[in-house]
Symmetry: C2
Subunit: 346 residues, 2 copies
Amino acid sequence: MKQEANIYEIAKEAGVSIATVSRVINHSSAVSEKNKRRVLAAVEKLNYVPNNAARSLSTSTSTSVGVVIPDISNPFFSQLLQGITLASDEMGLNIFLFGTNENSEREHKVLDSMREHRLRGVIITPVSAEDGETLRRLHNFEARGIPVVLLDREVDSTAFDRVVTADDEGVFLAVNELIRIGHRRIAIITGPEASRPGRERLRGYCRSMEAHGLPLRDEYIRKGNFMVQCAYEQALVLCSLPEPPTAIFSSNNMTTYGCLKAFGELGLRIGEDIALVGFDDIEELRWLNYNLSVVSRDVPKMGEQAMRHLMRRLENEIRPEHGTRTCLPTELILRGSECLPKKKTL
Amino acid sequence: MKQEANIYEIAKEAGVSIATVSRVINHSSAVSEKNKRRVLAAVEKLNYVPNNAARSLSTSTSTSVGVVIPDISNPFFSQLLQGITLASDEMGLNIFLFGTNENSEREHKVLDSMREHRLRGVIITPVSAEDGETLRRLHNFEARGIPVVLLDREVDSTAFDRVVTADDEGVFLAVNELIRIGHRRIAIITGPEASRPGRERLRGYCRSMEAHGLPLRDEYIRKGNFMVQCAYEQALVLCSLPEPPTAIFSSNNMTTYGCLKAFGELGLRIGEDIALVGFDDIEELRWLNYNLSVVSRDVPKMGEQAMRHLMRRLENEIRPEHGTRTCLPTELILRGSECLPKKKTL
DNA sequence: GTGAAAGCGCTAACAG
DNA sequence: CTGTTAGCGCTTTCAC
């Protein structure tokens, strides 16, 4: 089992010193054409690849960034991941992937284990905004010069760079539109209160309702957790209300599925018997000819942006006092499911 | 910006030598209770975490495995990834994630860049089974003692461990069932020929048809590429045939969506106007009350198994002459979409 | 433009 | 049980 060649073997083969080999490999300083050729030939011949651990130890830096994702199998996060990997290998960075399964304890463990790797930076969608343990660890990274970028969710601190979207505004406009076309009884199935997305989307809803002088009725504001089952149950509750809503806003992709499941069982068609507008587009539904209206955003781009932020921090040594908050736009896409039911069917 | 503490600082703080610190940290050999306590206290006090690069350089081994995935945003692969990460952190291994976007050239680049990291092992779903360049690189890993596990797809070599599923058998049984309940004109939309899953699923179809003395009609065997658009077009073609099939087998999740899109446009209901059986279950469809029958398998488990295989290879130093091939079962789940159309509607 | 040599932080003999 | 020391492979002064 042949070992990987090291820099000494290359130096010997090329008849130069290891310093010269290093210079050629890193383009770090001028080397004579002749020596450069010889080194390159040796590298080729011995199939040499520099040892990252050694390099990283020597320079006390690395080429890896840690990415912490709460639920890898959720399409939203895998699209995020897609964007992250795309940008990362454009920049020559490698991704250490960690999953927390929405579990704070696992998140702490993961964050601890990441320290061993002397990462260049960290991109994380934290489980909760209010977790002091996580916050402490993130501050610790920054204190050690390892930039942290929060993605989609935030924490109770303004110290980090963040990439988020205009959820509030997106939902505001969506509900505005619902009201404009005649809806008055508009419900929302919310996300977890401990997360920015959950809170902001609810806020957009409330803002719009209030702006139009519509009451915020408790029975129309159903607490969800971004999961299908809970949303399904809440949708059923809404539909069986004495005075059911004519429209439901669902706060994320899973919530939308929960609503659709409930509607399916009740025989309700969206845009005809009941209006539904969701947060985050679901490509699959278009293939199935669902005319779902959504507040949409470019998810892979969010991941890309997070990567670029990291890069920017890596390049400008300076550490800003406060993190920058990049807010990507959302877009209201109307496909028909927002329509006011023609007749009272509920 | 305080730097991470190193082993010398711990040694000084604890009043012992670095060797003792190392011993405590790695539980590598006995240390007196007293010293152990002092070291642990120092570690705690200085918030020490060992430097992985140094450790890895010193031991010329590492704790990371490379995972190469062709399409991170495809739910199938993100479920695979979910299983992989689950198993990996149970084993204390870290994941270097690489995406190839089904592009062979990127795959080669990725494989090259992975060599720098001196990984413990590699798990890969290769873009193509017939790519000599990829094959060469994979052999290279094995030659250097870095085990390679192929996941879902294989390559033209028996040298590596593989985790696959009984696709052939699964499809065979599915088509058997179609025939049993009365279907005779059964079509298939295939996957890429250059991949094991594509080939095997087609084979299962052919085997069943032949076993029942049914002809393999060219116009019923439509070449697909596991993508929605192509499947959609092929489904349309099938439905407009002079003698259209009564049942279609779709070779993967995306293909299934393509069929459903076509059926939606044509106003065909599965299990009523036309039968559809797909490979790989799609949870979302159940929420939407689709009664899709599928050949199903435990996808996260496939990822877990791949990880376990790697672990096994890592523990038994011996390198087997041939890789082992682990074949996980598939299961036929009948939900109604397989039913024979009552009347000729096409 | 080039080479010698001093680390980077850790592990693993080897002596005691 | 404990400490000393020689690397692991590479980068980076510092002389030449």
